[in-house]
Each structure stands twice: as C-alpha cells, then as structure tokens.
C-alpha cells in the first residue's frame, strides 16, 4: 500500500511536467504524512543533511564550473580541433577518443556523473561539430560516463567494501578488467555504428597541422594532466581536484586564451611592442583582471550557467535522498530482498533475481544508498551459495551503472540533459541503444565470474 502510493504519486507528479526534484519531494512528503509517524521536522532535517553533508557530491558543481569555462571560452573548440586532427580520419574516431577520455577520467574520479560533466560538455560539442548527431554523441558519453564507478577508484566500491568487509584493493582490482571490457565493447560498437551510419571521416591533415593544433590546445589538454597529476601526485582528492580544475579552467579561458572576460581583445603581445614592455603590461593587466572578473558580464554569465545546472542537479539529488529515506524507513527494499532470500533459489536464479531487483532499485535510488541497504542482505546468501563476495560486488556496481541511465533517478541522464540543454526524454532516447549494450555486459559479468575474479585471484 505504502509502496504503491509512493510510486504512483511519483509517476503522477512527474507526468504533470513539474520539476523532477519537486515530484520526488511531493511523493516522499505525502507518503510520510499518510503512512508514517515521522515528524515533519525530520523531513527538513533530511533535506538539510542531503544538501550539506555529502562532500563528494561537490565534485559535480566544480566540474560543471570548469567545463562551462572550457566550452564557453573556446578552449573546447581548440581541444576539438586537435582531436579531429588526430583521430578524425578514422571512422568514428572522435567518438572513440571521447570514450577513451571518459575511461581515463573515470580512472581518477570515483563518480559517474562527474565523469559525464567533465568530459561530456567538451566532447559532445566537438562530435556535433564534426558531423555526428547530437543524440549519438550524448548517448555515447552518458554511457561511457558510467564507467566512473566501475574503473577504480570508485566511491561505490568503497561503500561496498565497507559494508561487506571485503578488501577495497581487491574490489578495485576486480573492477579493472570489466571496466576495460566495457570500454572495449563501446569502442567496437561505435566503430560498427559509425560505419553503418557512414559518419564522416576527414582526411588526415598531416603531422604539421596535428602538432600545431596540439600546441594551440595545450592549455586545455593540460587540464587533464592537471587533474590526473593532482590526484595521483598525492596533492588532492578527486573532489578537491575538481575545484582545482575549475580555477584552472577560469584562468586558461580568461587569462590564457582571452576569448572572454576583461582581457578579451587584449593580446598578449601587440605588434612592435618590446618584450619588456609586454611583460610589464601583462603583469599589471592580469593582476587587475582577476578582481575585474568578478564584475565582468561574460564571466558572470558563465558562472551563472554552471550555477543553474549544478543547483538543479544537487536539488534533485537532495530530494532523491529524501525519497530513498522514505523507502528505507518503510523498509521497502528490505522486505523485497528478504522475500528473494526466502525463495531458496539456485545460484544462477539467485543472481538473475538479484539483477532484476537491483535494476529496479536503480530506477529510484542512489548507488551508494542501494549498496548500503542491499549488500548486507544479499552478501550472506551469496556466500552460502558459493558466490564470491567480490563477484557480487562487481555485479552490484554494474547494476548501479545501469541505474545511472534509467529514469526517474538517473544522474547521468540529468547531467547529460544539463550539458546538452536537451530534455530528459530526449536524453533517454539517446542513451537507450547503448543501455542494451550495458545489459548484455551485465549478463557477461554475472555469469562469467572470471571477468571479475581473474585479477584479484591472480594477485593473491
């Protein structure tokens, strides 16, 4: 009864066209009022908790800020020119390069939406410019972005490791082959798709052009080096690296390339200007430009764009957490999981049901919340049935990846909608064909344990 009300209300509210965040909120609040003894104050408490105590989520606004500076400031344009020069002659080459970029980025960030935010806003624009359809580009990126929680390190895996006491290192190792495999599947699919659709391939422009575009794009390319370096060099966590990336993106767009902001149309070097004079002038102008940026119309517009997308996402997440809170207090996931457990299934059927359950849960809840609730319930049964806990963990993570792409709570969908300025329906349609691939991949991972267990077993 409670469950039915909750989901029915959510569906009804969403179909009126109201903001998704509010639909989640209304469904949760009404369910609490109707069926629970929880106080209204506790709802307020939960909303504040959801907006104020998830440090890792701050990576989202930071990466969005950095990507808005990159894409508006013409940095993205230069990066894309370089990428086109490099891989544009391969059919589907740019899309493939984007997937590789997602995999690289996924390797450093523990978060899928952050991966989409960071890579997506640059490469989707680039692919469209090179003649791909926007829906193809968006679909590829929304999917490749889910690798963020599969390729280690991963926040979700850490949560799983903590909930089940398996080794985090083993978990991370187990994610590597599946991550690479999924990336590989995407690459092959893109190649076949690009051939079938006859996506254009430019002639190779020659090494000279390649190097030249590369040098011009160096300021933007350095961002990837910076983020990776900052994390692996032991300087900062992924969330902090996101803030560093935002500051760098501002500097490169406003001070470096000067496509926007207070130094627009002020070249680094005027014709006939002496070097000493240019250095002094630039020193003075740059120092002065930084405070001026706070009042610069163009810079402010860019920051506002990032703010709009970020607060929309964070407010959805806050209400999704409230929704999950209602599910939890009403013990809905527990009840379903316990039913499954009591059915006494053989391992293969158990895994099938687990997948169905997790896929359903992934539609409505956040990955970490699902793992925290489900892992402790499923883990002992899996152990009894002889299923390796690490294997179960990877299955859960892949399910969570799919959950990122399914409405109503699919973070990658929202981020993609935010950066492409398209509707949710449009993004769902764009991501759908690729979701099929993920499902096949889930089947592989579920029934071939070696994919997950080969590496951790090898190193033990």
């Amino acid at each position: 009864m409670t469950t039915a009300t909750l989901f029915l209300l959510l569906l009804l509210c969403m179909l009126t066209g109201m903001p998704i965040a509010l639909a989640l909120g209304i469904a949760s609040v009404s369910t609490i009022l109707l069926f629970s003894n929880d106080s209204l104050a506790s709802i307020a408490l939960k909303i504040f908790e959801s907006t104020s105590s998830h440090y890792t989520l701050l990576a989202i606004p930071f990466f969005i800020l950095s990507s808005v500076f990159l894409s508006t400031g013409g940095v993205a344009k230069r990066l894309i020119n370089f990428a086109v020069a490099g891989v544009g002659h391969v059919r589907g080459g740019l899309a493939m390069a984007s997937v590789v970029a997602c995999m690289l980025f996924a390797a450093v960030s523990g978060s899928s939406p952050a991966t989409v935010a960071a890579i997506g806003s640059i490469v989707i624009a680039g692919m469209v410019r090179s003649g791909y359809s926007q829906s193809f580009a968006a679909g590829v990126i929304a999917n490749a972005g889910t690798l963020g929680i599969l390729i280690p390190p991963s926040i979700v895996m850490l949560v799983y490791a903590a909930a089940t006491e398996v080794s985090a290192t083993r978990m991370f190792m187990a994610g590597l082959i599946p991550g690479l495999l999924m990336g590989g599947i995407l690459l092959v699919a893109i190649y076949l798709f690009a051939r079938k659709r006859r996506y254009p391939s430019q002639p190779f422009p020659g090494w000279r052009i390649l190097v030249k575009t590369g040098l011009i794009a160096a300021g933007g390319l350095f961002l990837i080096v910076l983020v990776l370096g900052v994390i692996y060099g032991g300087i900062a966590s992924p969330t902090e690296a996101a803030a560093v990336a935002a500051i760098y993106a501002f500097l490169i767009a406003v001070i470096g390339y000067r496509d926007m902001g207070p130094l627009r149309d002020t070249p680094w070097h005027y014709q006939g200007e002496s070097v000493v004079r240019a250095v002094c002038r630039n020193f003075w102008q740059i120092t002065w430009a930084i405070p001026r940026s706070f009042f610069d119309r163009e810079v402010n517009n860019v920051v506002m764009d990032a703010a709009k997308v970020s607060l929309m996402l964070l407010f959805i997440i806050a209400n999704a957490m409230l929704f999950a809170h209602v599910l939890t207090t009403e013990r809905i996931p527990h009840a379903i999981a316990e039913t499954i457990v009591s059915m006494g299934l053989p391992p293969w059927a158990f895994l099938l049901v687990v997948n169905l359950l997790l896929l359903a849960a992934g539609n409505f809840m956040e990955p970490s919340a699902i793992v925290l609730i489900m892992a402790p319930i499923l883990f002992p049964i899996a152990t009894q049935l002889g299923i390796d806990p690490i294997h179960l963990g990877i299955i859960m993570v892949v399910n969570m990846e799919i959950g990122m792409l399914t409405p109503p709570v699919g973070l990658n969908l929202f981020v993609t909608a935010g950066i492409t300025q398209q509707s949710i329906g449009w993004v769902i349609k764009a991501a759908l064909p690729w979701l099929g691939l993920l499902l096949i991949f889930l089947g592989l991972v579920t029934y071939i344990p070696a994919i997950s267990l080969f590496l951790p077993d090898l190193l033990n």
Partner: protein
C-alpha cells in the same frame, strides 16, 4: 525597479556562493600542499556554503527554467487542459513547500531552544541552517507567482525545455550532414520565456 535590483542581487549571491565554495576548496588544497597547513573550519564552511547555494538557488532555478522535468505527456493536451494540470502541479509543489516550511520552523526552533552551535564556526546552528526556512519561503513565493501567471493565462506550464522544438531540431540535424551550431553556444544565452516574466 526594485524588482530589477533584487534580481541582480539574487543572481550575484548565487554566483558568490558557488565561487566561494570553489575558492575555499582550492585554497584548502594550496594551504595543505604548499604551506603544509590548513584551517579546521574550512570543511564545515564549504559544506554549509554548498547547502546555502542549493537552497537559496532553487527558487531562482524555477524562475530561469533551470529545473528539468518530463513534459512530454502534458504537451499532448490542448493549452487549456494543460494549464489546469499545471495549476494542480503548482498546488502540489506549494503543499511540499508548506510541509518543509512547517518542518524547518519546528526543527530550527528546537535547535535554537537547545542552543546548539556549529562544530568549528562560532555561530548558533540554527543561524547557519536558516536558509532551510528561507529557501523554501523564496520557492513558495515563486510558485505563487507562477500560479498567478497560470490563472492570468500568461503561461500554461512550468515552461521547462521545449521537447517538441528540440526533437524538431534533432530531426533537421539528422537529415543535414553539415555541422550545426554547437550546444555550448546555446548554454550561455538561454533564458526561458518564463524567466523574463517572473
């Protein structure tokens, strides 16, 4: 005129919160890595800035059409029906605001009564969290203004992204093979129709 300045101030506060949060985390990294030091209050302030950013910004997001929703179904209805559906939807949202306003009033009142302070910032906790109430006041005001606009037939929905228009553009794009305008350009220029009226 006053409204105009309020809108400017509102936008500036939102930007400041986002930039402040980013600068604070950046500064923390610099302090820790370069100067091998740090201030303990930074984490708490960052997190509170994050909460202020979201809760203060939500109503502004409604004004500029930043929130995403699924409006594929309501668009199948004629404008009049759509308006009525939207009226009910806005009433639902106002109900949500009401619950949260009531809830946060009690919650913050209790925190004030007990006299809790924040962890590292010497401020009463209820003051640090006051945006919980304030944010939903703002959201309720915006919703009421939207309700008025629905009644006076200025709009007939939440005016989120126009799905039909987008798919039309998509269809054109699929047939044309020439590169089209990249979405990054649209990103900085969009202000939905509702934004200019609210």
């Amino acid at each position: 005129m006053i409204r105009h300045y309020l809108a400017i101030v509102e936008a500036a506060i939102i930007r400041l919160l986002l930039v402040g949060m980013t600068l604070l985390v950046f500064l923390e990294v610099i302090l820790r890595f370069v100067f091998n030091t740090g201030w303990l209050w930074m984490e708490e302030v960052t997190l509170y800035l994050g909460a202020w950013f979201v809760l203060f910004g939500v109503s502004y997001g409604l004004k500029v059409g930043a929130h995403i929703g699924v409006d594929a179904l309501v668009r199948l209805f004629p404008s009049g029906v759509r308006r009525w559906i939207s009226v009910f939807a806005v009433l639902g949202c106002l109900f949500y605001c009401g619950v949260l306003l009531y809830g946060s009033w009690i919650y913050l009142g209790k925190l004030k009564l007990i006299g809790l302070t924040m962890e590292d910032v010497p401020l009463p906790k209820w003051q640090g969290m006051s945006i919980l109430f304030g944010g939903f006041v703002l959201l309720a005001l915006r919703l009421m203004s939207l309700l008025w606009m629905l009644f006076s037939r200025q709009v007939d929905g939440f005016e989120l992204l126009d799905e039909a228009e987008e798919s039309l553009a998509l269809a054109q794009e699929e047939t044309k093979s020439t590169p089209k305008e990249s979405p990054e350009v649209r990103m900085s220029s969009d202000v939905s129709p509702i934004g200019s009226k609210l």
